[in-house]
Structure formats: C-alpha cells, structure tokens
C-alpha cells in the first residue's frame, strides 16, 4: 500500500507543479503486459500463502522468483525512460535479499510488532509467512544481507504503518523521477 501511495503522491505532485496527465498517458511504456502478469502471479502467492516457507524449490517460490525475472525484462525493455534504472536497482536489491533467504523478503518479528501486524504471522515457527505480503519472519542474526531486507519502519500514527526495504525506497524514488519527468517536461507534450 505504501508504494501505491507513492505512485499516487507522485502524480499529485506532478499536477501541483503544473504537469499534465495527458503527457503521462503518452508514456511509451513497453512490455506493460509483463508488469501486469508479474503482479497477477503474485496476488495468488501473497493471498494464499503456505504457513511456513517451504524453500527455494517450492512451486510458490519458483513462481515468485520468475515474476521478478519478468520484471527485470520489463525494466530492461524500458531502460531509456528516466528513473527506470532506479526502479530496476530496487527490483535487484529486493530480489537478491529474497533469493538469499529462501525466496521471500525477511522481516523481524520486532518490526512487525512496531506496526501492529503480528496477527498476520501464519505460524510461530522460524520462517513463518506473513499473510498478504512477500515476507517471512526471520531473526536478524539468521538473515543474510539483513541491510537489504525490510528494516525501515513507519509506525503509527503514520496513516499507512509500514515496514519497507532499501529496494522499496529505490523503486519509490525511481517512480517519482519517471512520473515527474514525464508530466512536467515540455518536450513530452501530448
């Protein structure tokens, strides 16, 4: 939800700066179907999770990792667009830490407690899935490349309490750059 808010915020900022939606509508986004397909694959995975991570060879993890491969292709196909390298770097950052930790994004139970989402943990075991996310609960000392995992906490009273990763920050910044440059550049007139 926090990333969706970032997209909406970027569009509203563009409008406030005098940018035009028509220019955004003419964004030459290639392989958009790839992004929509990757998202569609992930919806099933996050809303029908197994209680505990079953490892890299489970069908769900293979599908999740494959969806990221598809996203890399989409980013590569659009490499000429401003901000896409930031977005792609965010994909890579998230992909690396997920691949190193069994195919899902590690998060600590403490971070989940800070945002009040502990009731989403599906099992008391280590490696438990978190409902409606790509996360698994791992202690910090058992997490490989911990600094790339979900470590940044926005607790209440922030309207959208969230825990996010460095990769998520890169994706949000890249999206902001992409939308601003498209909406506010005179060269991209509709």
């Amino acid at each position: 939800m926090i990333l969706a808010a970032a997209v909406v915020g970027a569009v509203l900022l563009g409008l406030a700066r005098g940018g035009r939606l028509e220019r955004l509508a003419n964004l030459p986004l290639r392989w958009a179907w790839g992004a929509l397909t990757a998202f569609g694959l992930q919806i099933y995975l996050i809303y029908s999770p197994e209680p505990v991570n079953e490892g890299m060879l489970s069908l769900r993890v293979i599908v999740l990792m494959s969806s990221y491969i598809l996203l890399f292709v989409v980013a590569w196909q659009n490499s000429a667009l401003p901000g896409i390298w930031l977005i792609g770097s965010g994909f890579l950052s998230n992909f690396i830490v997920m691949a190193l930790n069994g195919g899902y994004m590690p998060i600590t139970a403490e971070a989940l407690a800070q945002v009040g989402h502990t009731h989403h943990i599906l099992s008391p075991e280590t490696g438990a899935r978190v409902y409606a996310t790509k996360d698994i609960v791992l202690p910090r000392e058992q997490t490989l490349a911990w600094w790339l995992s979900d470590i940044f906490v926005l607790p209440p009273p922030f309207p959208i309490p969230s825990v996010f990763s460095a990769g998520d920050v890169l994706i949000a910044l890249g999206t902001l750059r992409l939308i601003q440059s498209r909406m506010c550049s005179e060269r991209n007139s509709a």
Binding site: A38, S67, D135
Partner: protein, 42 residues
C-alpha cells in the same frame, strides 16, 4: 460543430483510457517489484 464535439469526446476517452492503462501498468510494476509489509499487502 457536432462532429467537432464528437471528435473531442472520442479523443478524451482515448486519452483517459490510455492514462488508466499506464497508471495500472505503473502500479503493477511498482507493487510487483516492491516487498514492503503494509496495509492490504504489497
């Protein structure tokens, strides 16, 4: 005049549809690539 209005409506609809498509594709790209823990998943 009527033809001009009809053309304007068609043009608006095409642009609006294209905008919705681009916004949905961008949302899909961002949400599928990100991995935060937040309200409503993604």
């Amino acid at each position: 005049m009527t033809n001009v209005k009809l053309f304007a409506i068609k043009r608006l609809n095409a642009t609006t549809l294209r905008l919705i498509y681009i916004l949905l594709a961008l949302l899909a790209l961002v949400l599928a690539g990100g991995a935060p823990d937040g309200m409503g998943g993604f």
